[in-house]
Symmetry: C2
Subunit: 499 residues, 2 copies
């Protein structure tokens, strides 16, 4: 008994520790605890620590720079912002610059269309420091509607557009409205961008995974989707929506109009909301991007009745494409075929957070309404845009070719987005070594890569992958070939070590 | 029987309508449906419709402008942004301007400290178009820590600071982590800013209301809090946190150090997390702002043990004060006394949304680290800052004096924030007329005010109020006295009509 009083046992100790504060790991929201988001997880944190060490002059690391290939963050690496966009934004931030337009033109190369655009946007928002309409400034939504109409050949309604702080907050809004309890399920492609699984965890809703077909360039297979859906329904899940990321993240796959039709078929037959994450719509190297909205409108024209009530939401962003302005947090989504009463609830939900960043909204306007042929800023805009596009294509293929040469690495040809997602086949000894450290084998590999080279990628397990397969996701945004060579060298040493 | 087949009854009709789409008002997330947010509700939507009508040249309305006194949106009304802030931001948006510093100085009045600050921030964030650390750029968090230290006389740790997209997203983060199920409760002052009740609704957690004392200048009463707490506990609620808005929204009340201590006492005794919403910390007309953090650190020094484990989170924002940059969506919160494992979950939660807007982060840096005495931009900054401050004070008291003269209107003397929250006593006939329209009486009054004058305020029922009392909240941001006279005239006509 005496011993007990002086040395409390483990459970007593845990209790007394927990009792000191209100909050402990054991009693916070378990949904938050359950959520996983590997893109900014352990590896990213370690990479940041290495970066700080190097910046502080530490010479003990076996590399002299950290390469953040874990996240699509173009302007952190090499991508320059587009001049027209930033010139306009500078005027929005300091309208006093407009008091001396001649000087802007002669000394800083601001063209007339830059000034006019800034004046137009300022007339609309009054000040970028003022809250806007919760759905976004009306004029900006009109520009987005015009853009969608020109892209698809079908009209869009500014009232159905919702500007957002990046696509992520849009996805969060939609899943919040759609998921009505622990029984609600959403079909999510595997591998996927983990925003989807994380948000479903936060909402305590069901992720219903459907696997993409790696051997068919990560395409979408109808039978696979149907099988997952049936299994979930049999287990009592109320499947309400299907997420499609097109072009794919992490896969880079770009869907054909036929693929899109088959998803819309399932949606129409099974009454599923289609969540089309189309943030990489301009990052397409092979073929042409077709939007879900366009395909849906075509089908509604071609086939009477079947597609009339399909509920579709399509998301876009300023973070990706040739814009790459992730730090500005801008984007939008369009609701198609939604019950107006449901749309009113979406409005109320977003109004609680007041409005998306107004400068980000303005950048959405500039993205969807860039300088046109014949306008003074057009030539430079076009040159910059094409330069970024071509650079991304070249880097994608350079990386792809390096992967082709690596033992045990297989990679689909780059089609779009900002990522490659190679399969890696590791020797049994490496898998044993990972298990000994209680780690997934791909995580073990990626950590070893970071420690040896300073290159930070994300293990496939962070996105989901078929059982007994291993992958990692890397962006192809980093400039130069040095970092690719670091990966090649590391990989051959790693394979030799565990042979 | 025949009739039944051709005219389906209501339940059949509802079924067949619902069956057309996946989502209907009856099957979306019921927590979203339950959430209420009056600040941007029916009245605000109607006001916006009137604004559009007037802009389109409609002459049928009995007023020629809409006054948005429903929301603290300074730059929508009259407040000019602070020059130093916006000059720096213009350079962050377009660093190419830095290629010709002389011209910036001679033609646009950019001082040396503007340029240096922009260069310093750019060196840190690389590009405002790049994602930052999810907690915010390290250098900016260091500036915030320094600001807190200078304000309070106690150190702050940059690792415990989290930059946010406005205080709203910070509150959402915290309540998401704290609320662990339908049984979790949070003490919320009534009246309150409805972000709190709305977010608790979304999380399906309990709002445990405690009434503020209108007759004691909307002060915080310990006994009232304890009574609410005991009632909630008796009903089985697990009360985990207490929200304090200081200075108050909608009340404008500014808490004394003694009031703050009594809240901290309850927190220490009952192990409650204190959520101190201090976004109006510079909007104080009477007395001086004391932060919860400062008072907590003082008590920790003075009294051994009792306060050591108090968990406090304090929120601040660029939207209010003399900054008024709501459209930029910036703010921060500081965690004090939190379990590091819980803080890690807060980090993971925010990392899912990647990072707050980087330009908003930079504005936080400028707010907490404005030009100092002796620096070239100091004089203008000080002049602008004091001008805004004095303008707000004058407007607050002009409105207060108008309310003093109105029959059936009582108002506490302005102390802080951006709002007045007068009591209105309406004639029984007005209350009957409201009931006939199925409306709360204060809502009925505010709608009539909007329809007659174009002035948009928010009914007290949107914030909560004691039973059988009626209020409305109005900002005192709108310039001039014309709109105040509109209210006075409307009120006397309304009172006469329903006498």
């Amino acid at each position: 008994m005496t011993t007990r009083t002086t040395v409390p046992d483990a459970s007593q100790r845990a209790l007394s520790t927990a009792a000191v504060r209100c909050l402990s790991l054991d009693n916070i929201n378990s949904n938050v605890k359950a959520a996983k988001y590997a893109v900014r997880g352990e590896l990213a944190v370690k990479a940041e620590e290495y970066r700080v060490k190097l910046a502080q002059g530490d010479k003990s690391l076996p590399f002299d720079s950290v390469i953040f290939a874990n996240i699509g963050n173009p302007q952190q690496l090499d991508q320059k912002p587009i001049t027209f966009f930033r010139q306009v934004l500078s005027l929005l931030e300091n309208p006093q610059l407009l008091n001396n337009k001649d000087v802007l033109c002669t000394h800083f190369g601001y063209q007339d269309d830059v000034i006019k655009r800034a004046e137009k946007l300022l007339a609309e928002v009054q000040s970028v420091g003022a809250y806007s309409h919760s759905q976004g400034a009306p004029l900006i939504r009109e520009s987005v509607a015009k853009f969608i109409e020109e892209r698809d050949g079908f009209p869009a309604d500014p009232q159905s557009l919702y500007l957002t702080g990046g696509a992520s907050s849009g996805v969060s809004t939609l899943l919040n409205v759609i998921c009505n309890g622990p029984n609600a399920g959403v079909l999510v492609p595997i591998p996927q961008y983990p925003l989807y699984t994380a948000t479903l965890s936060l909402l305590d809703a069901q992720c219903v995974p459907y696997h993409l077909e790696e051997q068919k360039a990560w395409g979408t297979d109808v039978d696979t989707i149907k099988k997952s859906l049936e299994q979930a329904k049999a287990a009592g899940t109320d499947v309400r929506a299907i997420v499609v990321i097109n072009p794919g993240n992490p896969t880079g796959a770009s869907l054909s109009p036929a693929d899109i039709k088959s998803v819309l078929d399932i949606a129409a037959e099974e009454k599923l909301v289609v969540i089309a994450d189309e943030v990489y719509q301009t990052n397409v190297f092979i073929g042409e991007f077709t939007s879900f909205k366009k395909r849906l409108r075509e089908l509604q024209q071609e086939v009477s009745g079947k597609y009339d009530n399909v509920e579709l939401v399509s998301l876009h962003s300023i973070s990706k494409g040739m814009v790459g302005e992730c730090g500005h947090r801008g984007g939008y989504f369009e609701l198609v075929g939604f019950d107006p009463l449901v749309a009113a609830q979406v409005y109320k939900f977003i109004s609680i957070m007041l409005c998306p960043p107004v400068i980000g909204q303005c950048l959405v306007e500039l993205m969807v309404n860039p300088p046109k042929e014949g306008e003074p800023s057009y030539e430079l805009y076009q040159k910059e845009y094409n330069g970024i596009r071509e650079g991304l294509r070249q880097r994608a293929f350079a990386l792809y070719e390096a992967f082709q040469k690596m033992e045990g690495v297989e990679c689909q040809e780059p089609q779009g987005a900002m990522y490659l997602f190679p399969t890696i086949t590791l020797p049994p000894k490496a898998i044993e070594a990972a298990a000994a450290e209680n780690r997934a084998a791909d995580e073990f590999y990626c950590l070893a890569l970071l420690d040896a080279t300073g290159v930070c990628v994300v293990p496939g397990s962070g996105f989901g992958q078929k059982e007994n397969t291993l992958h990692f996701r890397t962006t192809f945004l980093a400039p130069g070939t040095d970092w690719v060579e670091r990966i090649v060298k590391f990989h051959s040493e790693f394979m030799a070590k565990y042979k």
